[in-house]
């Protein structure tokens, strides 16, 4: 069984929010959708869970889908326990099963001691963990998480990822969107988006290996060049035609290079 999107497009008036985007994943797999503000990540999530009408293409999803919106989906005026109970009620889980499942999720997310705190009084990381717990409570076959790690500090981000990986290991397909390129390596499948268009798609390895052209590194400033950007104390240069730029040395591209090159090409029509 495979879930996902097949060449879907979403139009908002004259703007193409998504332009022929495909993504497929199997149970137990995590797909990471990476992109900045306005890339189309939220539209993609809303399309796959069925909240967003699509203009063309096909969506395949299981009966039971868990979704965490970018706002975390947590009710700020309810306690942690009340948030979870409300979701359990909405899915009509029988009460013994619901209590067991809630206890299990509180333990895994280390939110047991916070169970009587209001959603609004949680730290960003705790609130996101609660949001993911609410989305996975009904044991959906597909879990869609929209930017669960944005603004969350690195230590809490890691706890979130370990919770997400655990959720996937229960034979569940998981889609996670993020603005952090380095998180793409947490997925079996990566989809990089920019302004609704696909920049790159595949396993992290495939995406890096199939980058067109080559990356060079130089200590010489490359101001104003459309094919270069600064990284740390060095400059990265993207070369398409096999030439070697000046004093630069070839270097192995990583995911950040691949996504940057794709965005450069998108931006300037290279």
């Amino acid at each position: 069984m495979t879930w996902g999107l097949d060449r879907i497009s979403v139009d908002f008036g004259t703007t193409k929010a998504l332009d022929s985007v495909s993504l497929a994943l199997k149970p137990g797999e995590v797909a990471v959708v990476v992109g900045g503000d306005g890339a189309g990540k939220t539209t993609l999530c809303r399309s796959i869970v069925g909240l967003q009408p699509i203009s063309s293409g096909e969506v395949s999803r299981p009966d039971r889908v868990g979704y965490q919106p970018a706002s975390s989906g947590v009710w700020r005026d309810l306690t942690v326990m009340e948030n979870l109970r409300l979701v359990a009620g909405a899915y009509r889980l029988d009460s013994t099963h619901a209590s067991d499942r809630i206890a299990e999720l509180l333990e895994v997310t280390r939110l047991e001691e916070a169970s009587n705190r209001l959603g609004g009084a949680l730290s960003g990381g705790m609130r996101q963990k609660l949001g993911v717990a609410m989305a996975v409570l009904s044991e959906p076959s597909l879990l869609v998480l929209d930017e669960p790690t944005t603004g969350v500090d690195p230590v809490s981000r890691l706890e979130l990822w370990s919770f997400i990986m655990r959720s996937a290991s229960e034979n569940r397909a998981v889609i996670v969107t993020t603005t952090y390129v380095d998180e793409s390596r947490r997925g079996r499948e990566v989809l990089a988006l920019d302004a609704g268009r696909v920049l790159a798609v595949g396993t992290p390895e495939e995406v890096v290996n199939t980058m067109p052209g080559a990356i060079f590194e130089s200590s010489e400033p490359q101001h104003g060049s459309a094919r270069s950007w600064r990284r740390g104390s060095k400059w990265r240069i993207w070369v398409e035609d096999g030439s070697t730029p000046g004093e630069a040395v070839p270097t192995n591209p990583d995911m950040a290079d691949v996504v940057t090159v794709a965005a450069l090409r998108n931006e300037s029509g290279l």
Binding site: G36, T150, G151, S156
Partner: protein
């Protein structure tokens, strides 16, 4: 004398010590990164430097003067919320800021923003808004720049372009203090200062932090193995084709997962070091 100098600064809020005897400095032309979990004390440290919070103890100086006394025209600050007027256009925002400081409006063409000069801030993407905020913060060529998560939420190319601008300000002589949640951005900084629970837990260059620190990699981990690693104090991270375990030695991994785990040593990356120090 460094442009930014913090000596054993502490800040107490009620019973909580938000910043606990922290010391760091940044010279002219230097970019110093302030890293830490939420609540580690980064924003409080920045607020003390901006003269918005009085330290409970210790000294904070900017350009050799107490931080609370320094002429604001020497400072540029980009808050997390950016501080732009969303109903005004890019040009109007910059005109307003420039006239407050009594300086000329920055060159929008040179900043690559000419095409959007007459658009309202509210209509722009976050990456562009961040560039405008940065331009506004440095239009008076401050000697000290304080940037609170300047790249948060921006795509990779936008981040690279923002960093070019930040490096440009440092190359022109500004001392830059920047906080970030993106661990890969630590390599953009000349030095980093890591805070945890208000205390300084690491300070130096990225290379110094990386030296000699290793993680253990293993092929595949089942849910049960993941739990076993966690309850032994390790942090398992899926990464590409393998799992990386932070906080456990090779021997400990073998003891928990058995000899068949195909465990290998690998150099740690900066995020892994941060996690092992900060948690």
């Amino acid at each position: 004398m460094s442009a930014i100098q913090v000596v054993e600064a502490s800040k107490r809020f009620g019973s909580k010590l938000a910043v606990d005897q922290v010391s760091f400095d940044a010279a002219e032309g230097e970019i110093v990164g302030l890293l830490g979990a939420n609540g580690a004390g980064k924003t409080t440290a920045m607020k003390m430097l901006l003269g918005l919070e009085e330290p409970t103890d210790g000294q904070l100086t900017l350009l050799g003067q107490p931080a609370s006394d320094v002429d604001r025209r020497h400072l540029g600050y980009v808050p997390q919320g950016l501080g732009l007027y969303s109903e005004l256009t890019v040009r109007e925002n910059l005109q307003f800021v420039a006239s407050s400081y009594g300086v000329e409006v920055p060159d929008l063409s040179a900043a690559g923003l000419a095409e959007i000069a007459d658009l309202q801030i509210a209509a722009l993407s976050l990456g562009i808004r961040r560039r405008v905020a940065f331009l506004a913060a440095q239009c008076h060529q401050p000697d000290v720049l304080i940037l609170d998560e300047p790249t948060s939420g921006v795509g990779p190319l936008g981040r690279a372009r923002l960093w070019e601008t930040i490096h440009g300000a440092a190359d022109a002589g500004a001392a830059v203090l920047v906080s970030t949640h993106y661990m890969d951005e630590a390599e953009e900084c000349d030095r980093i200062v890591m805070l945890a629970d208000g205390r300084e837990v690491m300070s130096g260059t990225v290379d110094e932090a990386l030296e000699g620190v290793e993680v253990v990699t293993v092929g595949d981990l089942t849910a049960e193995m993941t739990s076993a690693v966690e309850s032994s104090g390790g942090t398992p991270l899926f990464s590409g084709e393998e799992w990386r375990i932070v906080g456990m030695s090779m021997e400990e991994v073998h003891r928990v997962l058995g000899k068949d785990a195909r465990a290998q040593r690998a150099p740690a990356n900066f995020e892994e070091i941060f996690i092992s120090i900060a948690r």
